[in-house]
């Protein structure tokens, strides 16, 4: 990947709707970046990942969605060859992570949940040190550092210590570090958790560029907007299982079509009027702090509410999101 190649097209054609052939056949076909079949991870009695199957195509941007404890990170670590699989089959870039760990890791880029940079060293030294782990020459790494710092917009921070950087900047250093070896597969575990909205948008922009350049991205997140922005395809995980799979749009169309009217009521009121809300539409959700009404026509629903005896404090109409998909699939809210 040349980050400065002007010939790189702005838009990469996608084949998002084409289904991957059944498992087993495609494992070693070069168009497949990751093949997992009945993949499991157990820690003692705890089943963190429960026989999940999926395929990721090369060049695809693939998301794992789910709340904390859904098994996303365990799956990432198995793909990244830093955690042995407990059962099933997993092939990453044509290699077996359990037996070809070092070879596989030399072709991966990883952005872990925690930054784990050396805080007392400079940005340059962190990147140089990491490049050396991949047995690259110093000259090669120096060139790469210039390129990457330009890419993550941190050129002027080259000689700053990590501890002097903001959270968003540290995250970008970790992204640059993950790209030092020009990986074929880039694994990001909650890349923007804990960042402010502006820092998140900067990161999304950089990741979007990587995606356009054909790097295969694997992203875990519990932010729905992040998945909608970045992922061609997502799987929704809950309690170690995959509960849905598809493009963000397709999932919304299937599980939460149309629009959502969000109603907020004074504390204590919701319990009493839950039944009344259920009569508003064929699908409603009464949560702790608000009620959601799924509808094909928000305007009409709002009119109906106005004419009823309901007296919500606020009424908000919006398009449904992956958050609503998750709620529909699990009956629980995603963040919190």
């Amino acid at each position: 990947m040349n980050l400065h190649d002007p010939r790189v097209p702005n838009v990469q054609p996608r084949t998002g709707t084409r289904r991957v052939p059944p498992t087993g056949i495609v494992a070693r076909v070069s168009a497949i970046a990751i093949h997992a079949h009945a993949l499991s991870k157990r820690f003692g009695d705890l089943i963190a990942v429960d026989a999940i199957s999926f395929d990721v195509k090369k060049g695809e941007s693939f998301g794992f969605l789910g709340p904390n404890g859904a098994g996303k990170t365990s799956t990432m670590r198995m793909i990244g060859a830093t955690s042995p699989i407990s059962g099933g089959e997993l092939i990453v870039l044509g290699l077996n992570p359990d037996t070809d760990g070092p070879t596989l890791r030399s072709q991966l880029g990883v952005v872990p949940q925690e930054n784990n940079l050396d805080e007392e060293l400079t940005v340059h030294d962190n990147l140089m040190m990491y490049g050396r782990y991949f047995d690259m020459s110093r000259a090669e790494i120096r060139e790469r550092i210039d390129e990457l710092l330009d890419f993550v917009q941190l050129t002027e921070k080259r000689d700053s210590k990590i501890q002097a950087l903001s959270g968003g900047m540290k995250r970008r250093v970790v992204i640059a570090r993950g790209l030092i070896n020009d990986p074929d597969l880039f694994i990001l575990d909650e890349p923007t958790t804990g960042l402010d909205p502006q820092a998140r948008h900067v990161l999304w922009d950089r990741l979007y560029r990587l995606k356009q350049r054909g790097v295969t991205l694997i992203i875990t997140t519990h932010y729905m907007d992040e998945a909608e922005q970045l992922c061609d395809r997502v799987v929704v995980m809950d309690k170690g299982r995959i509960v849905a799979e598809g493009s963000p749009r397709a999932l919304i169309d299937e599980y939460a079509p149309g629009e959502v009217v969000e109603l907020r009521f004074p504390i204590g009121v919701l319990e009493e009027i839950g039944g009344q809300i259920q009569d508003l539409a064929s699908r409603t959700e009464v949560l702790a702090d608000r009620a959601l009404v799924y509808t094909g026509d928000a305007e009409q629903t709002i009119n109906t509410i106005r004419e009823s005896s309901l007296e919500p404090e606020t009424v908000l109409a919006r398009r449904s999101t992956l958050e609503d998909v998750f709620l529909r699939l699990t009956g629980r809210s995603l963040v919190e």
Binding site: S83, P102, R105, P112, E114, M128, M129, D135, R177, N181
Partner: protein
């Protein structure tokens, strides 16, 4: 083909060390100078006045110098083995980051042991130069005594690392220094012959690595044969290095590659 990746770990540690090397080297000089002055000359004058024949036939300063050289190497080994590992797996978690690269657990452990032993070499060579400057022994013999001191230091690097990677809580480490490292430093023959210890404690001193390192270093400086045949002590220390080194791998894998 490629340089073994454990050497890349050594290189990385050297890069980290480069940030603080001046202070580190300065204290490596100051430390033995203070010991020589306070214990060797100050306390030594009293000891020598009470022991006309000297200890083992030499002045207290001469008795003490190779002993502290070795005991200091032991402390350095313990310090490196402890806090580097703590930072790598508990605090900055830089060891997690390393393992996302092609480096294996074995390479990581080996690199860590090599670098830490390198630190013991640095500290001990400086110590030997100070000993020679105090005219306790010729420079050549002082430097020869660095050999067993480093062996002892490396044994402690392995043992402390094997201990630290098993820790569930960080609080275990200060306890380790207070109840294992410090007593070994004080009671394993560096400051006084272990024959001064109560009878029941002498066998305990005998199984510490410090005793063997101290005896070997002292025999080189004094020019008398050690209490335990040199190759037994050497083999004993080597067994610590290899044995505890191997014992680092499994718990570290369990912790970092669960």
């Amino acid at each position: 083909m490629a340089t073994p990746l454990s050497l890349r770990v050594v290189e990385a540690e050297a890069r980290v060390y480069r940030r603080t090397w001046r202070g580190s080297v300065a204290s490596s000089f100051l430390n033995p100078v203070l010991y020589m002055l306070a214990m060797g000359l100050g306390l030594g004058a009293l000891v020598d006045a009470n022991m006309p024949g000297g200890i083992d036939g030499v002045s207290y300063l001469t008795f003490l110098a190779p002993g502290i050289l070795a005991a200091n190497a032991m402390q350095t080994g313990a310090t490196e083995g402890a806090w580097k590992v703590m930072g790598g797996i508990f605090w900055a978690k830089t060891w997690h980051a390393r393992l996302a690269s092609p480096i294996s657990i074995e390479g990581l452990v080996l690199g860590h042991l090599l670098w830490s032993t390198g630190r013991v070499v640095m500290v001990s060579v400086i110590f030997a130069v100070v000993i020679a400057a105090f005219q306790v022994a010729p420079l050549f013999e002082s430097l020869l005594a660095v050999g067993p001191a480093v062996l002892l230091g490396a044994a402690m690097v392995s043992a402390t690392t094997a201990f630290t990677v098993r820790l569930k809580e960080q609080a275990g480490l200060p306890m380790f220094f207070r109840f294992v490292v410090l007593p070994m430093f004080l009671f394993s023959g560096a400051f006084f012959p272990i024959s001064q210890l109560p009878n029941w404690l002498q066998p305990v001193a005998l199984i510490t690595p410090v005793y063997h390192g101290v005896e070997l270093a002292r025999s080189i400086v004094i020019g008398a044969p050690p209490a335990v045949t040199w190759w037994i002590s050497t083999a004993y220390l080597a067994a610590w290095i290899v044995g505890f080194g191997l014992l680092c791998v499994k718990p570290l894998r369990k912790r970092l590659m669960p």
